[in-house]
Subunit: 235 residues, 2 copies
Amino acid sequence: MTSALAEFVVGVDNVIFSVDTDANRLLVLLVQRQHWPFAGEWSLPGTLVRHGESLEAAAYRTLAEKICVNNLYLEQLYTFGGPGRDPREADTAYGTRYLSVSYFALVRFADAQLIATGESRVQWFTVHSCPPLAFDHSMILAYGHRRLCNKLEYSPVAFDVLPEYFTLNDLYQLYSTVLGPNFSDYSNFRSRLLKLGILQDTQQKVIRGAGRPATLYRFDREAFAPLKDKPLVFV
Amino acid sequence: MTSALAEFVVGVDNVIFSVDTDANRLLVLLVQRQHWPFAGEWSLPGTLVRHGESLEAAAYRTLAEKICVNNLYLEQLYTFGGPGRDPREADTAYGTRYLSVSYFALVRFADAQLIATGESRVQWFTVHSCPPLAFDHSMILAYGHRRLCNKLEYSPVAFDVLPEYFTLNDLYQLYSTVLGPNFSDYSNFRSRLLKLGILQDTQQKVIRGAGRPATLYRFDREAFAPLKDKPLVFV
DNA sequence: ACAAAAGTGTTAGAAGTACACCCATGT
DNA sequence: ACATGGGTGTACTTCTAACACTTTTGT
């Protein structure tokens, strides 16, 4: 004897982070809702999954609708599917459920062009000063933020959003803006990273304003491959 | 212009682990399917989500239908929702999708009673010698196994499946059956755990066969509370 | 007496932490 | 010359891994 199955509409919501290293700000992309429910409020960019479309494809599509970006990291975050998380459920007598599979993304700030479609507003907010969000999106954001910190510490996501050639300082800025002020000091970060042997020293130097020229490095994917799934620590 | 939304049936599949420390075996619970598709093949225990039921509730229900257990740890694992993962999709012209939210559980082996309902078979398999699974369940199992190892190393899940009073050897057996042979040696494991200060030394001793009596410890939840979300290492 | 299980100690090396200091460039 | 950012070195502590050893029980 089985009771009635729930009917579902499945959506994807993205927590899209970006790091503005110049201004030392960790940003998250929010959109302002145009329609009921929560019209006028800010929320994570999301979409409903289409016929024949994979979840990940839906996540990429949402992302591509809001920003134009070439370099990013994306992975599934968590699925929120309890009853009562979307007011639209109440519409239908037998309450179709709105399930949200959330994805977490990190994109390169420099080449992320926001797409302004008509009157819908899309905007970066610093994570620590963003408005209360529609639905349960504040919770999703918090969850995503925790994941971002972990990912940065234990896997090489940073290299997905850095330019191909970067200085150790670029890398350090990225880490310290995300991980906050009580992050490791530069000198130790430096030696730890170099000791890992996954950074290729291109002999090139780059001069940015005053100061000694900085060495340009690149991420050495081949050297990293054997270290994959090993408990690497980048902290 | 939006294309057709996918329609979904949402299911929950559980990767239920248990550790038989006596026989040094890591076990996973499988059920033998009775009906099409994959009739006769083994799969993870799962269910479809009912009206008004949360995902987690569905996961608990599935678990309770197969085994009777009081002590367990359960958390969401991953969501698999691509098109084509369930042959039943092909039935309906407009292909209702079968989405699976997977959960991962660790249960206490000693008090886990398998529930044999009629002819449906439920059985423990050692993780390293289990049959090929229906659907994409082999992938889900692999994913769950990885998560189990991580959880054990970084969070105190072990104490959810150990009895309230346990010896350090009980704990060590649990860890080494899950984490395999090249796990830390007993002496180092011991001092690391004790140094964390989260084990309460009840002055009681227990004698099991020959050998010096072992001290009974209990997990000190209050002492652990402040260490929560800190990067603890139990390895 | 001896095996078996529990528990302690030691040591060499690696890794982490907090600094002080030197180097190359622009102004 | 000196401020600025890049880069090196060091002294100290803590962690890790491997292993030898002592203690308390049953037989």
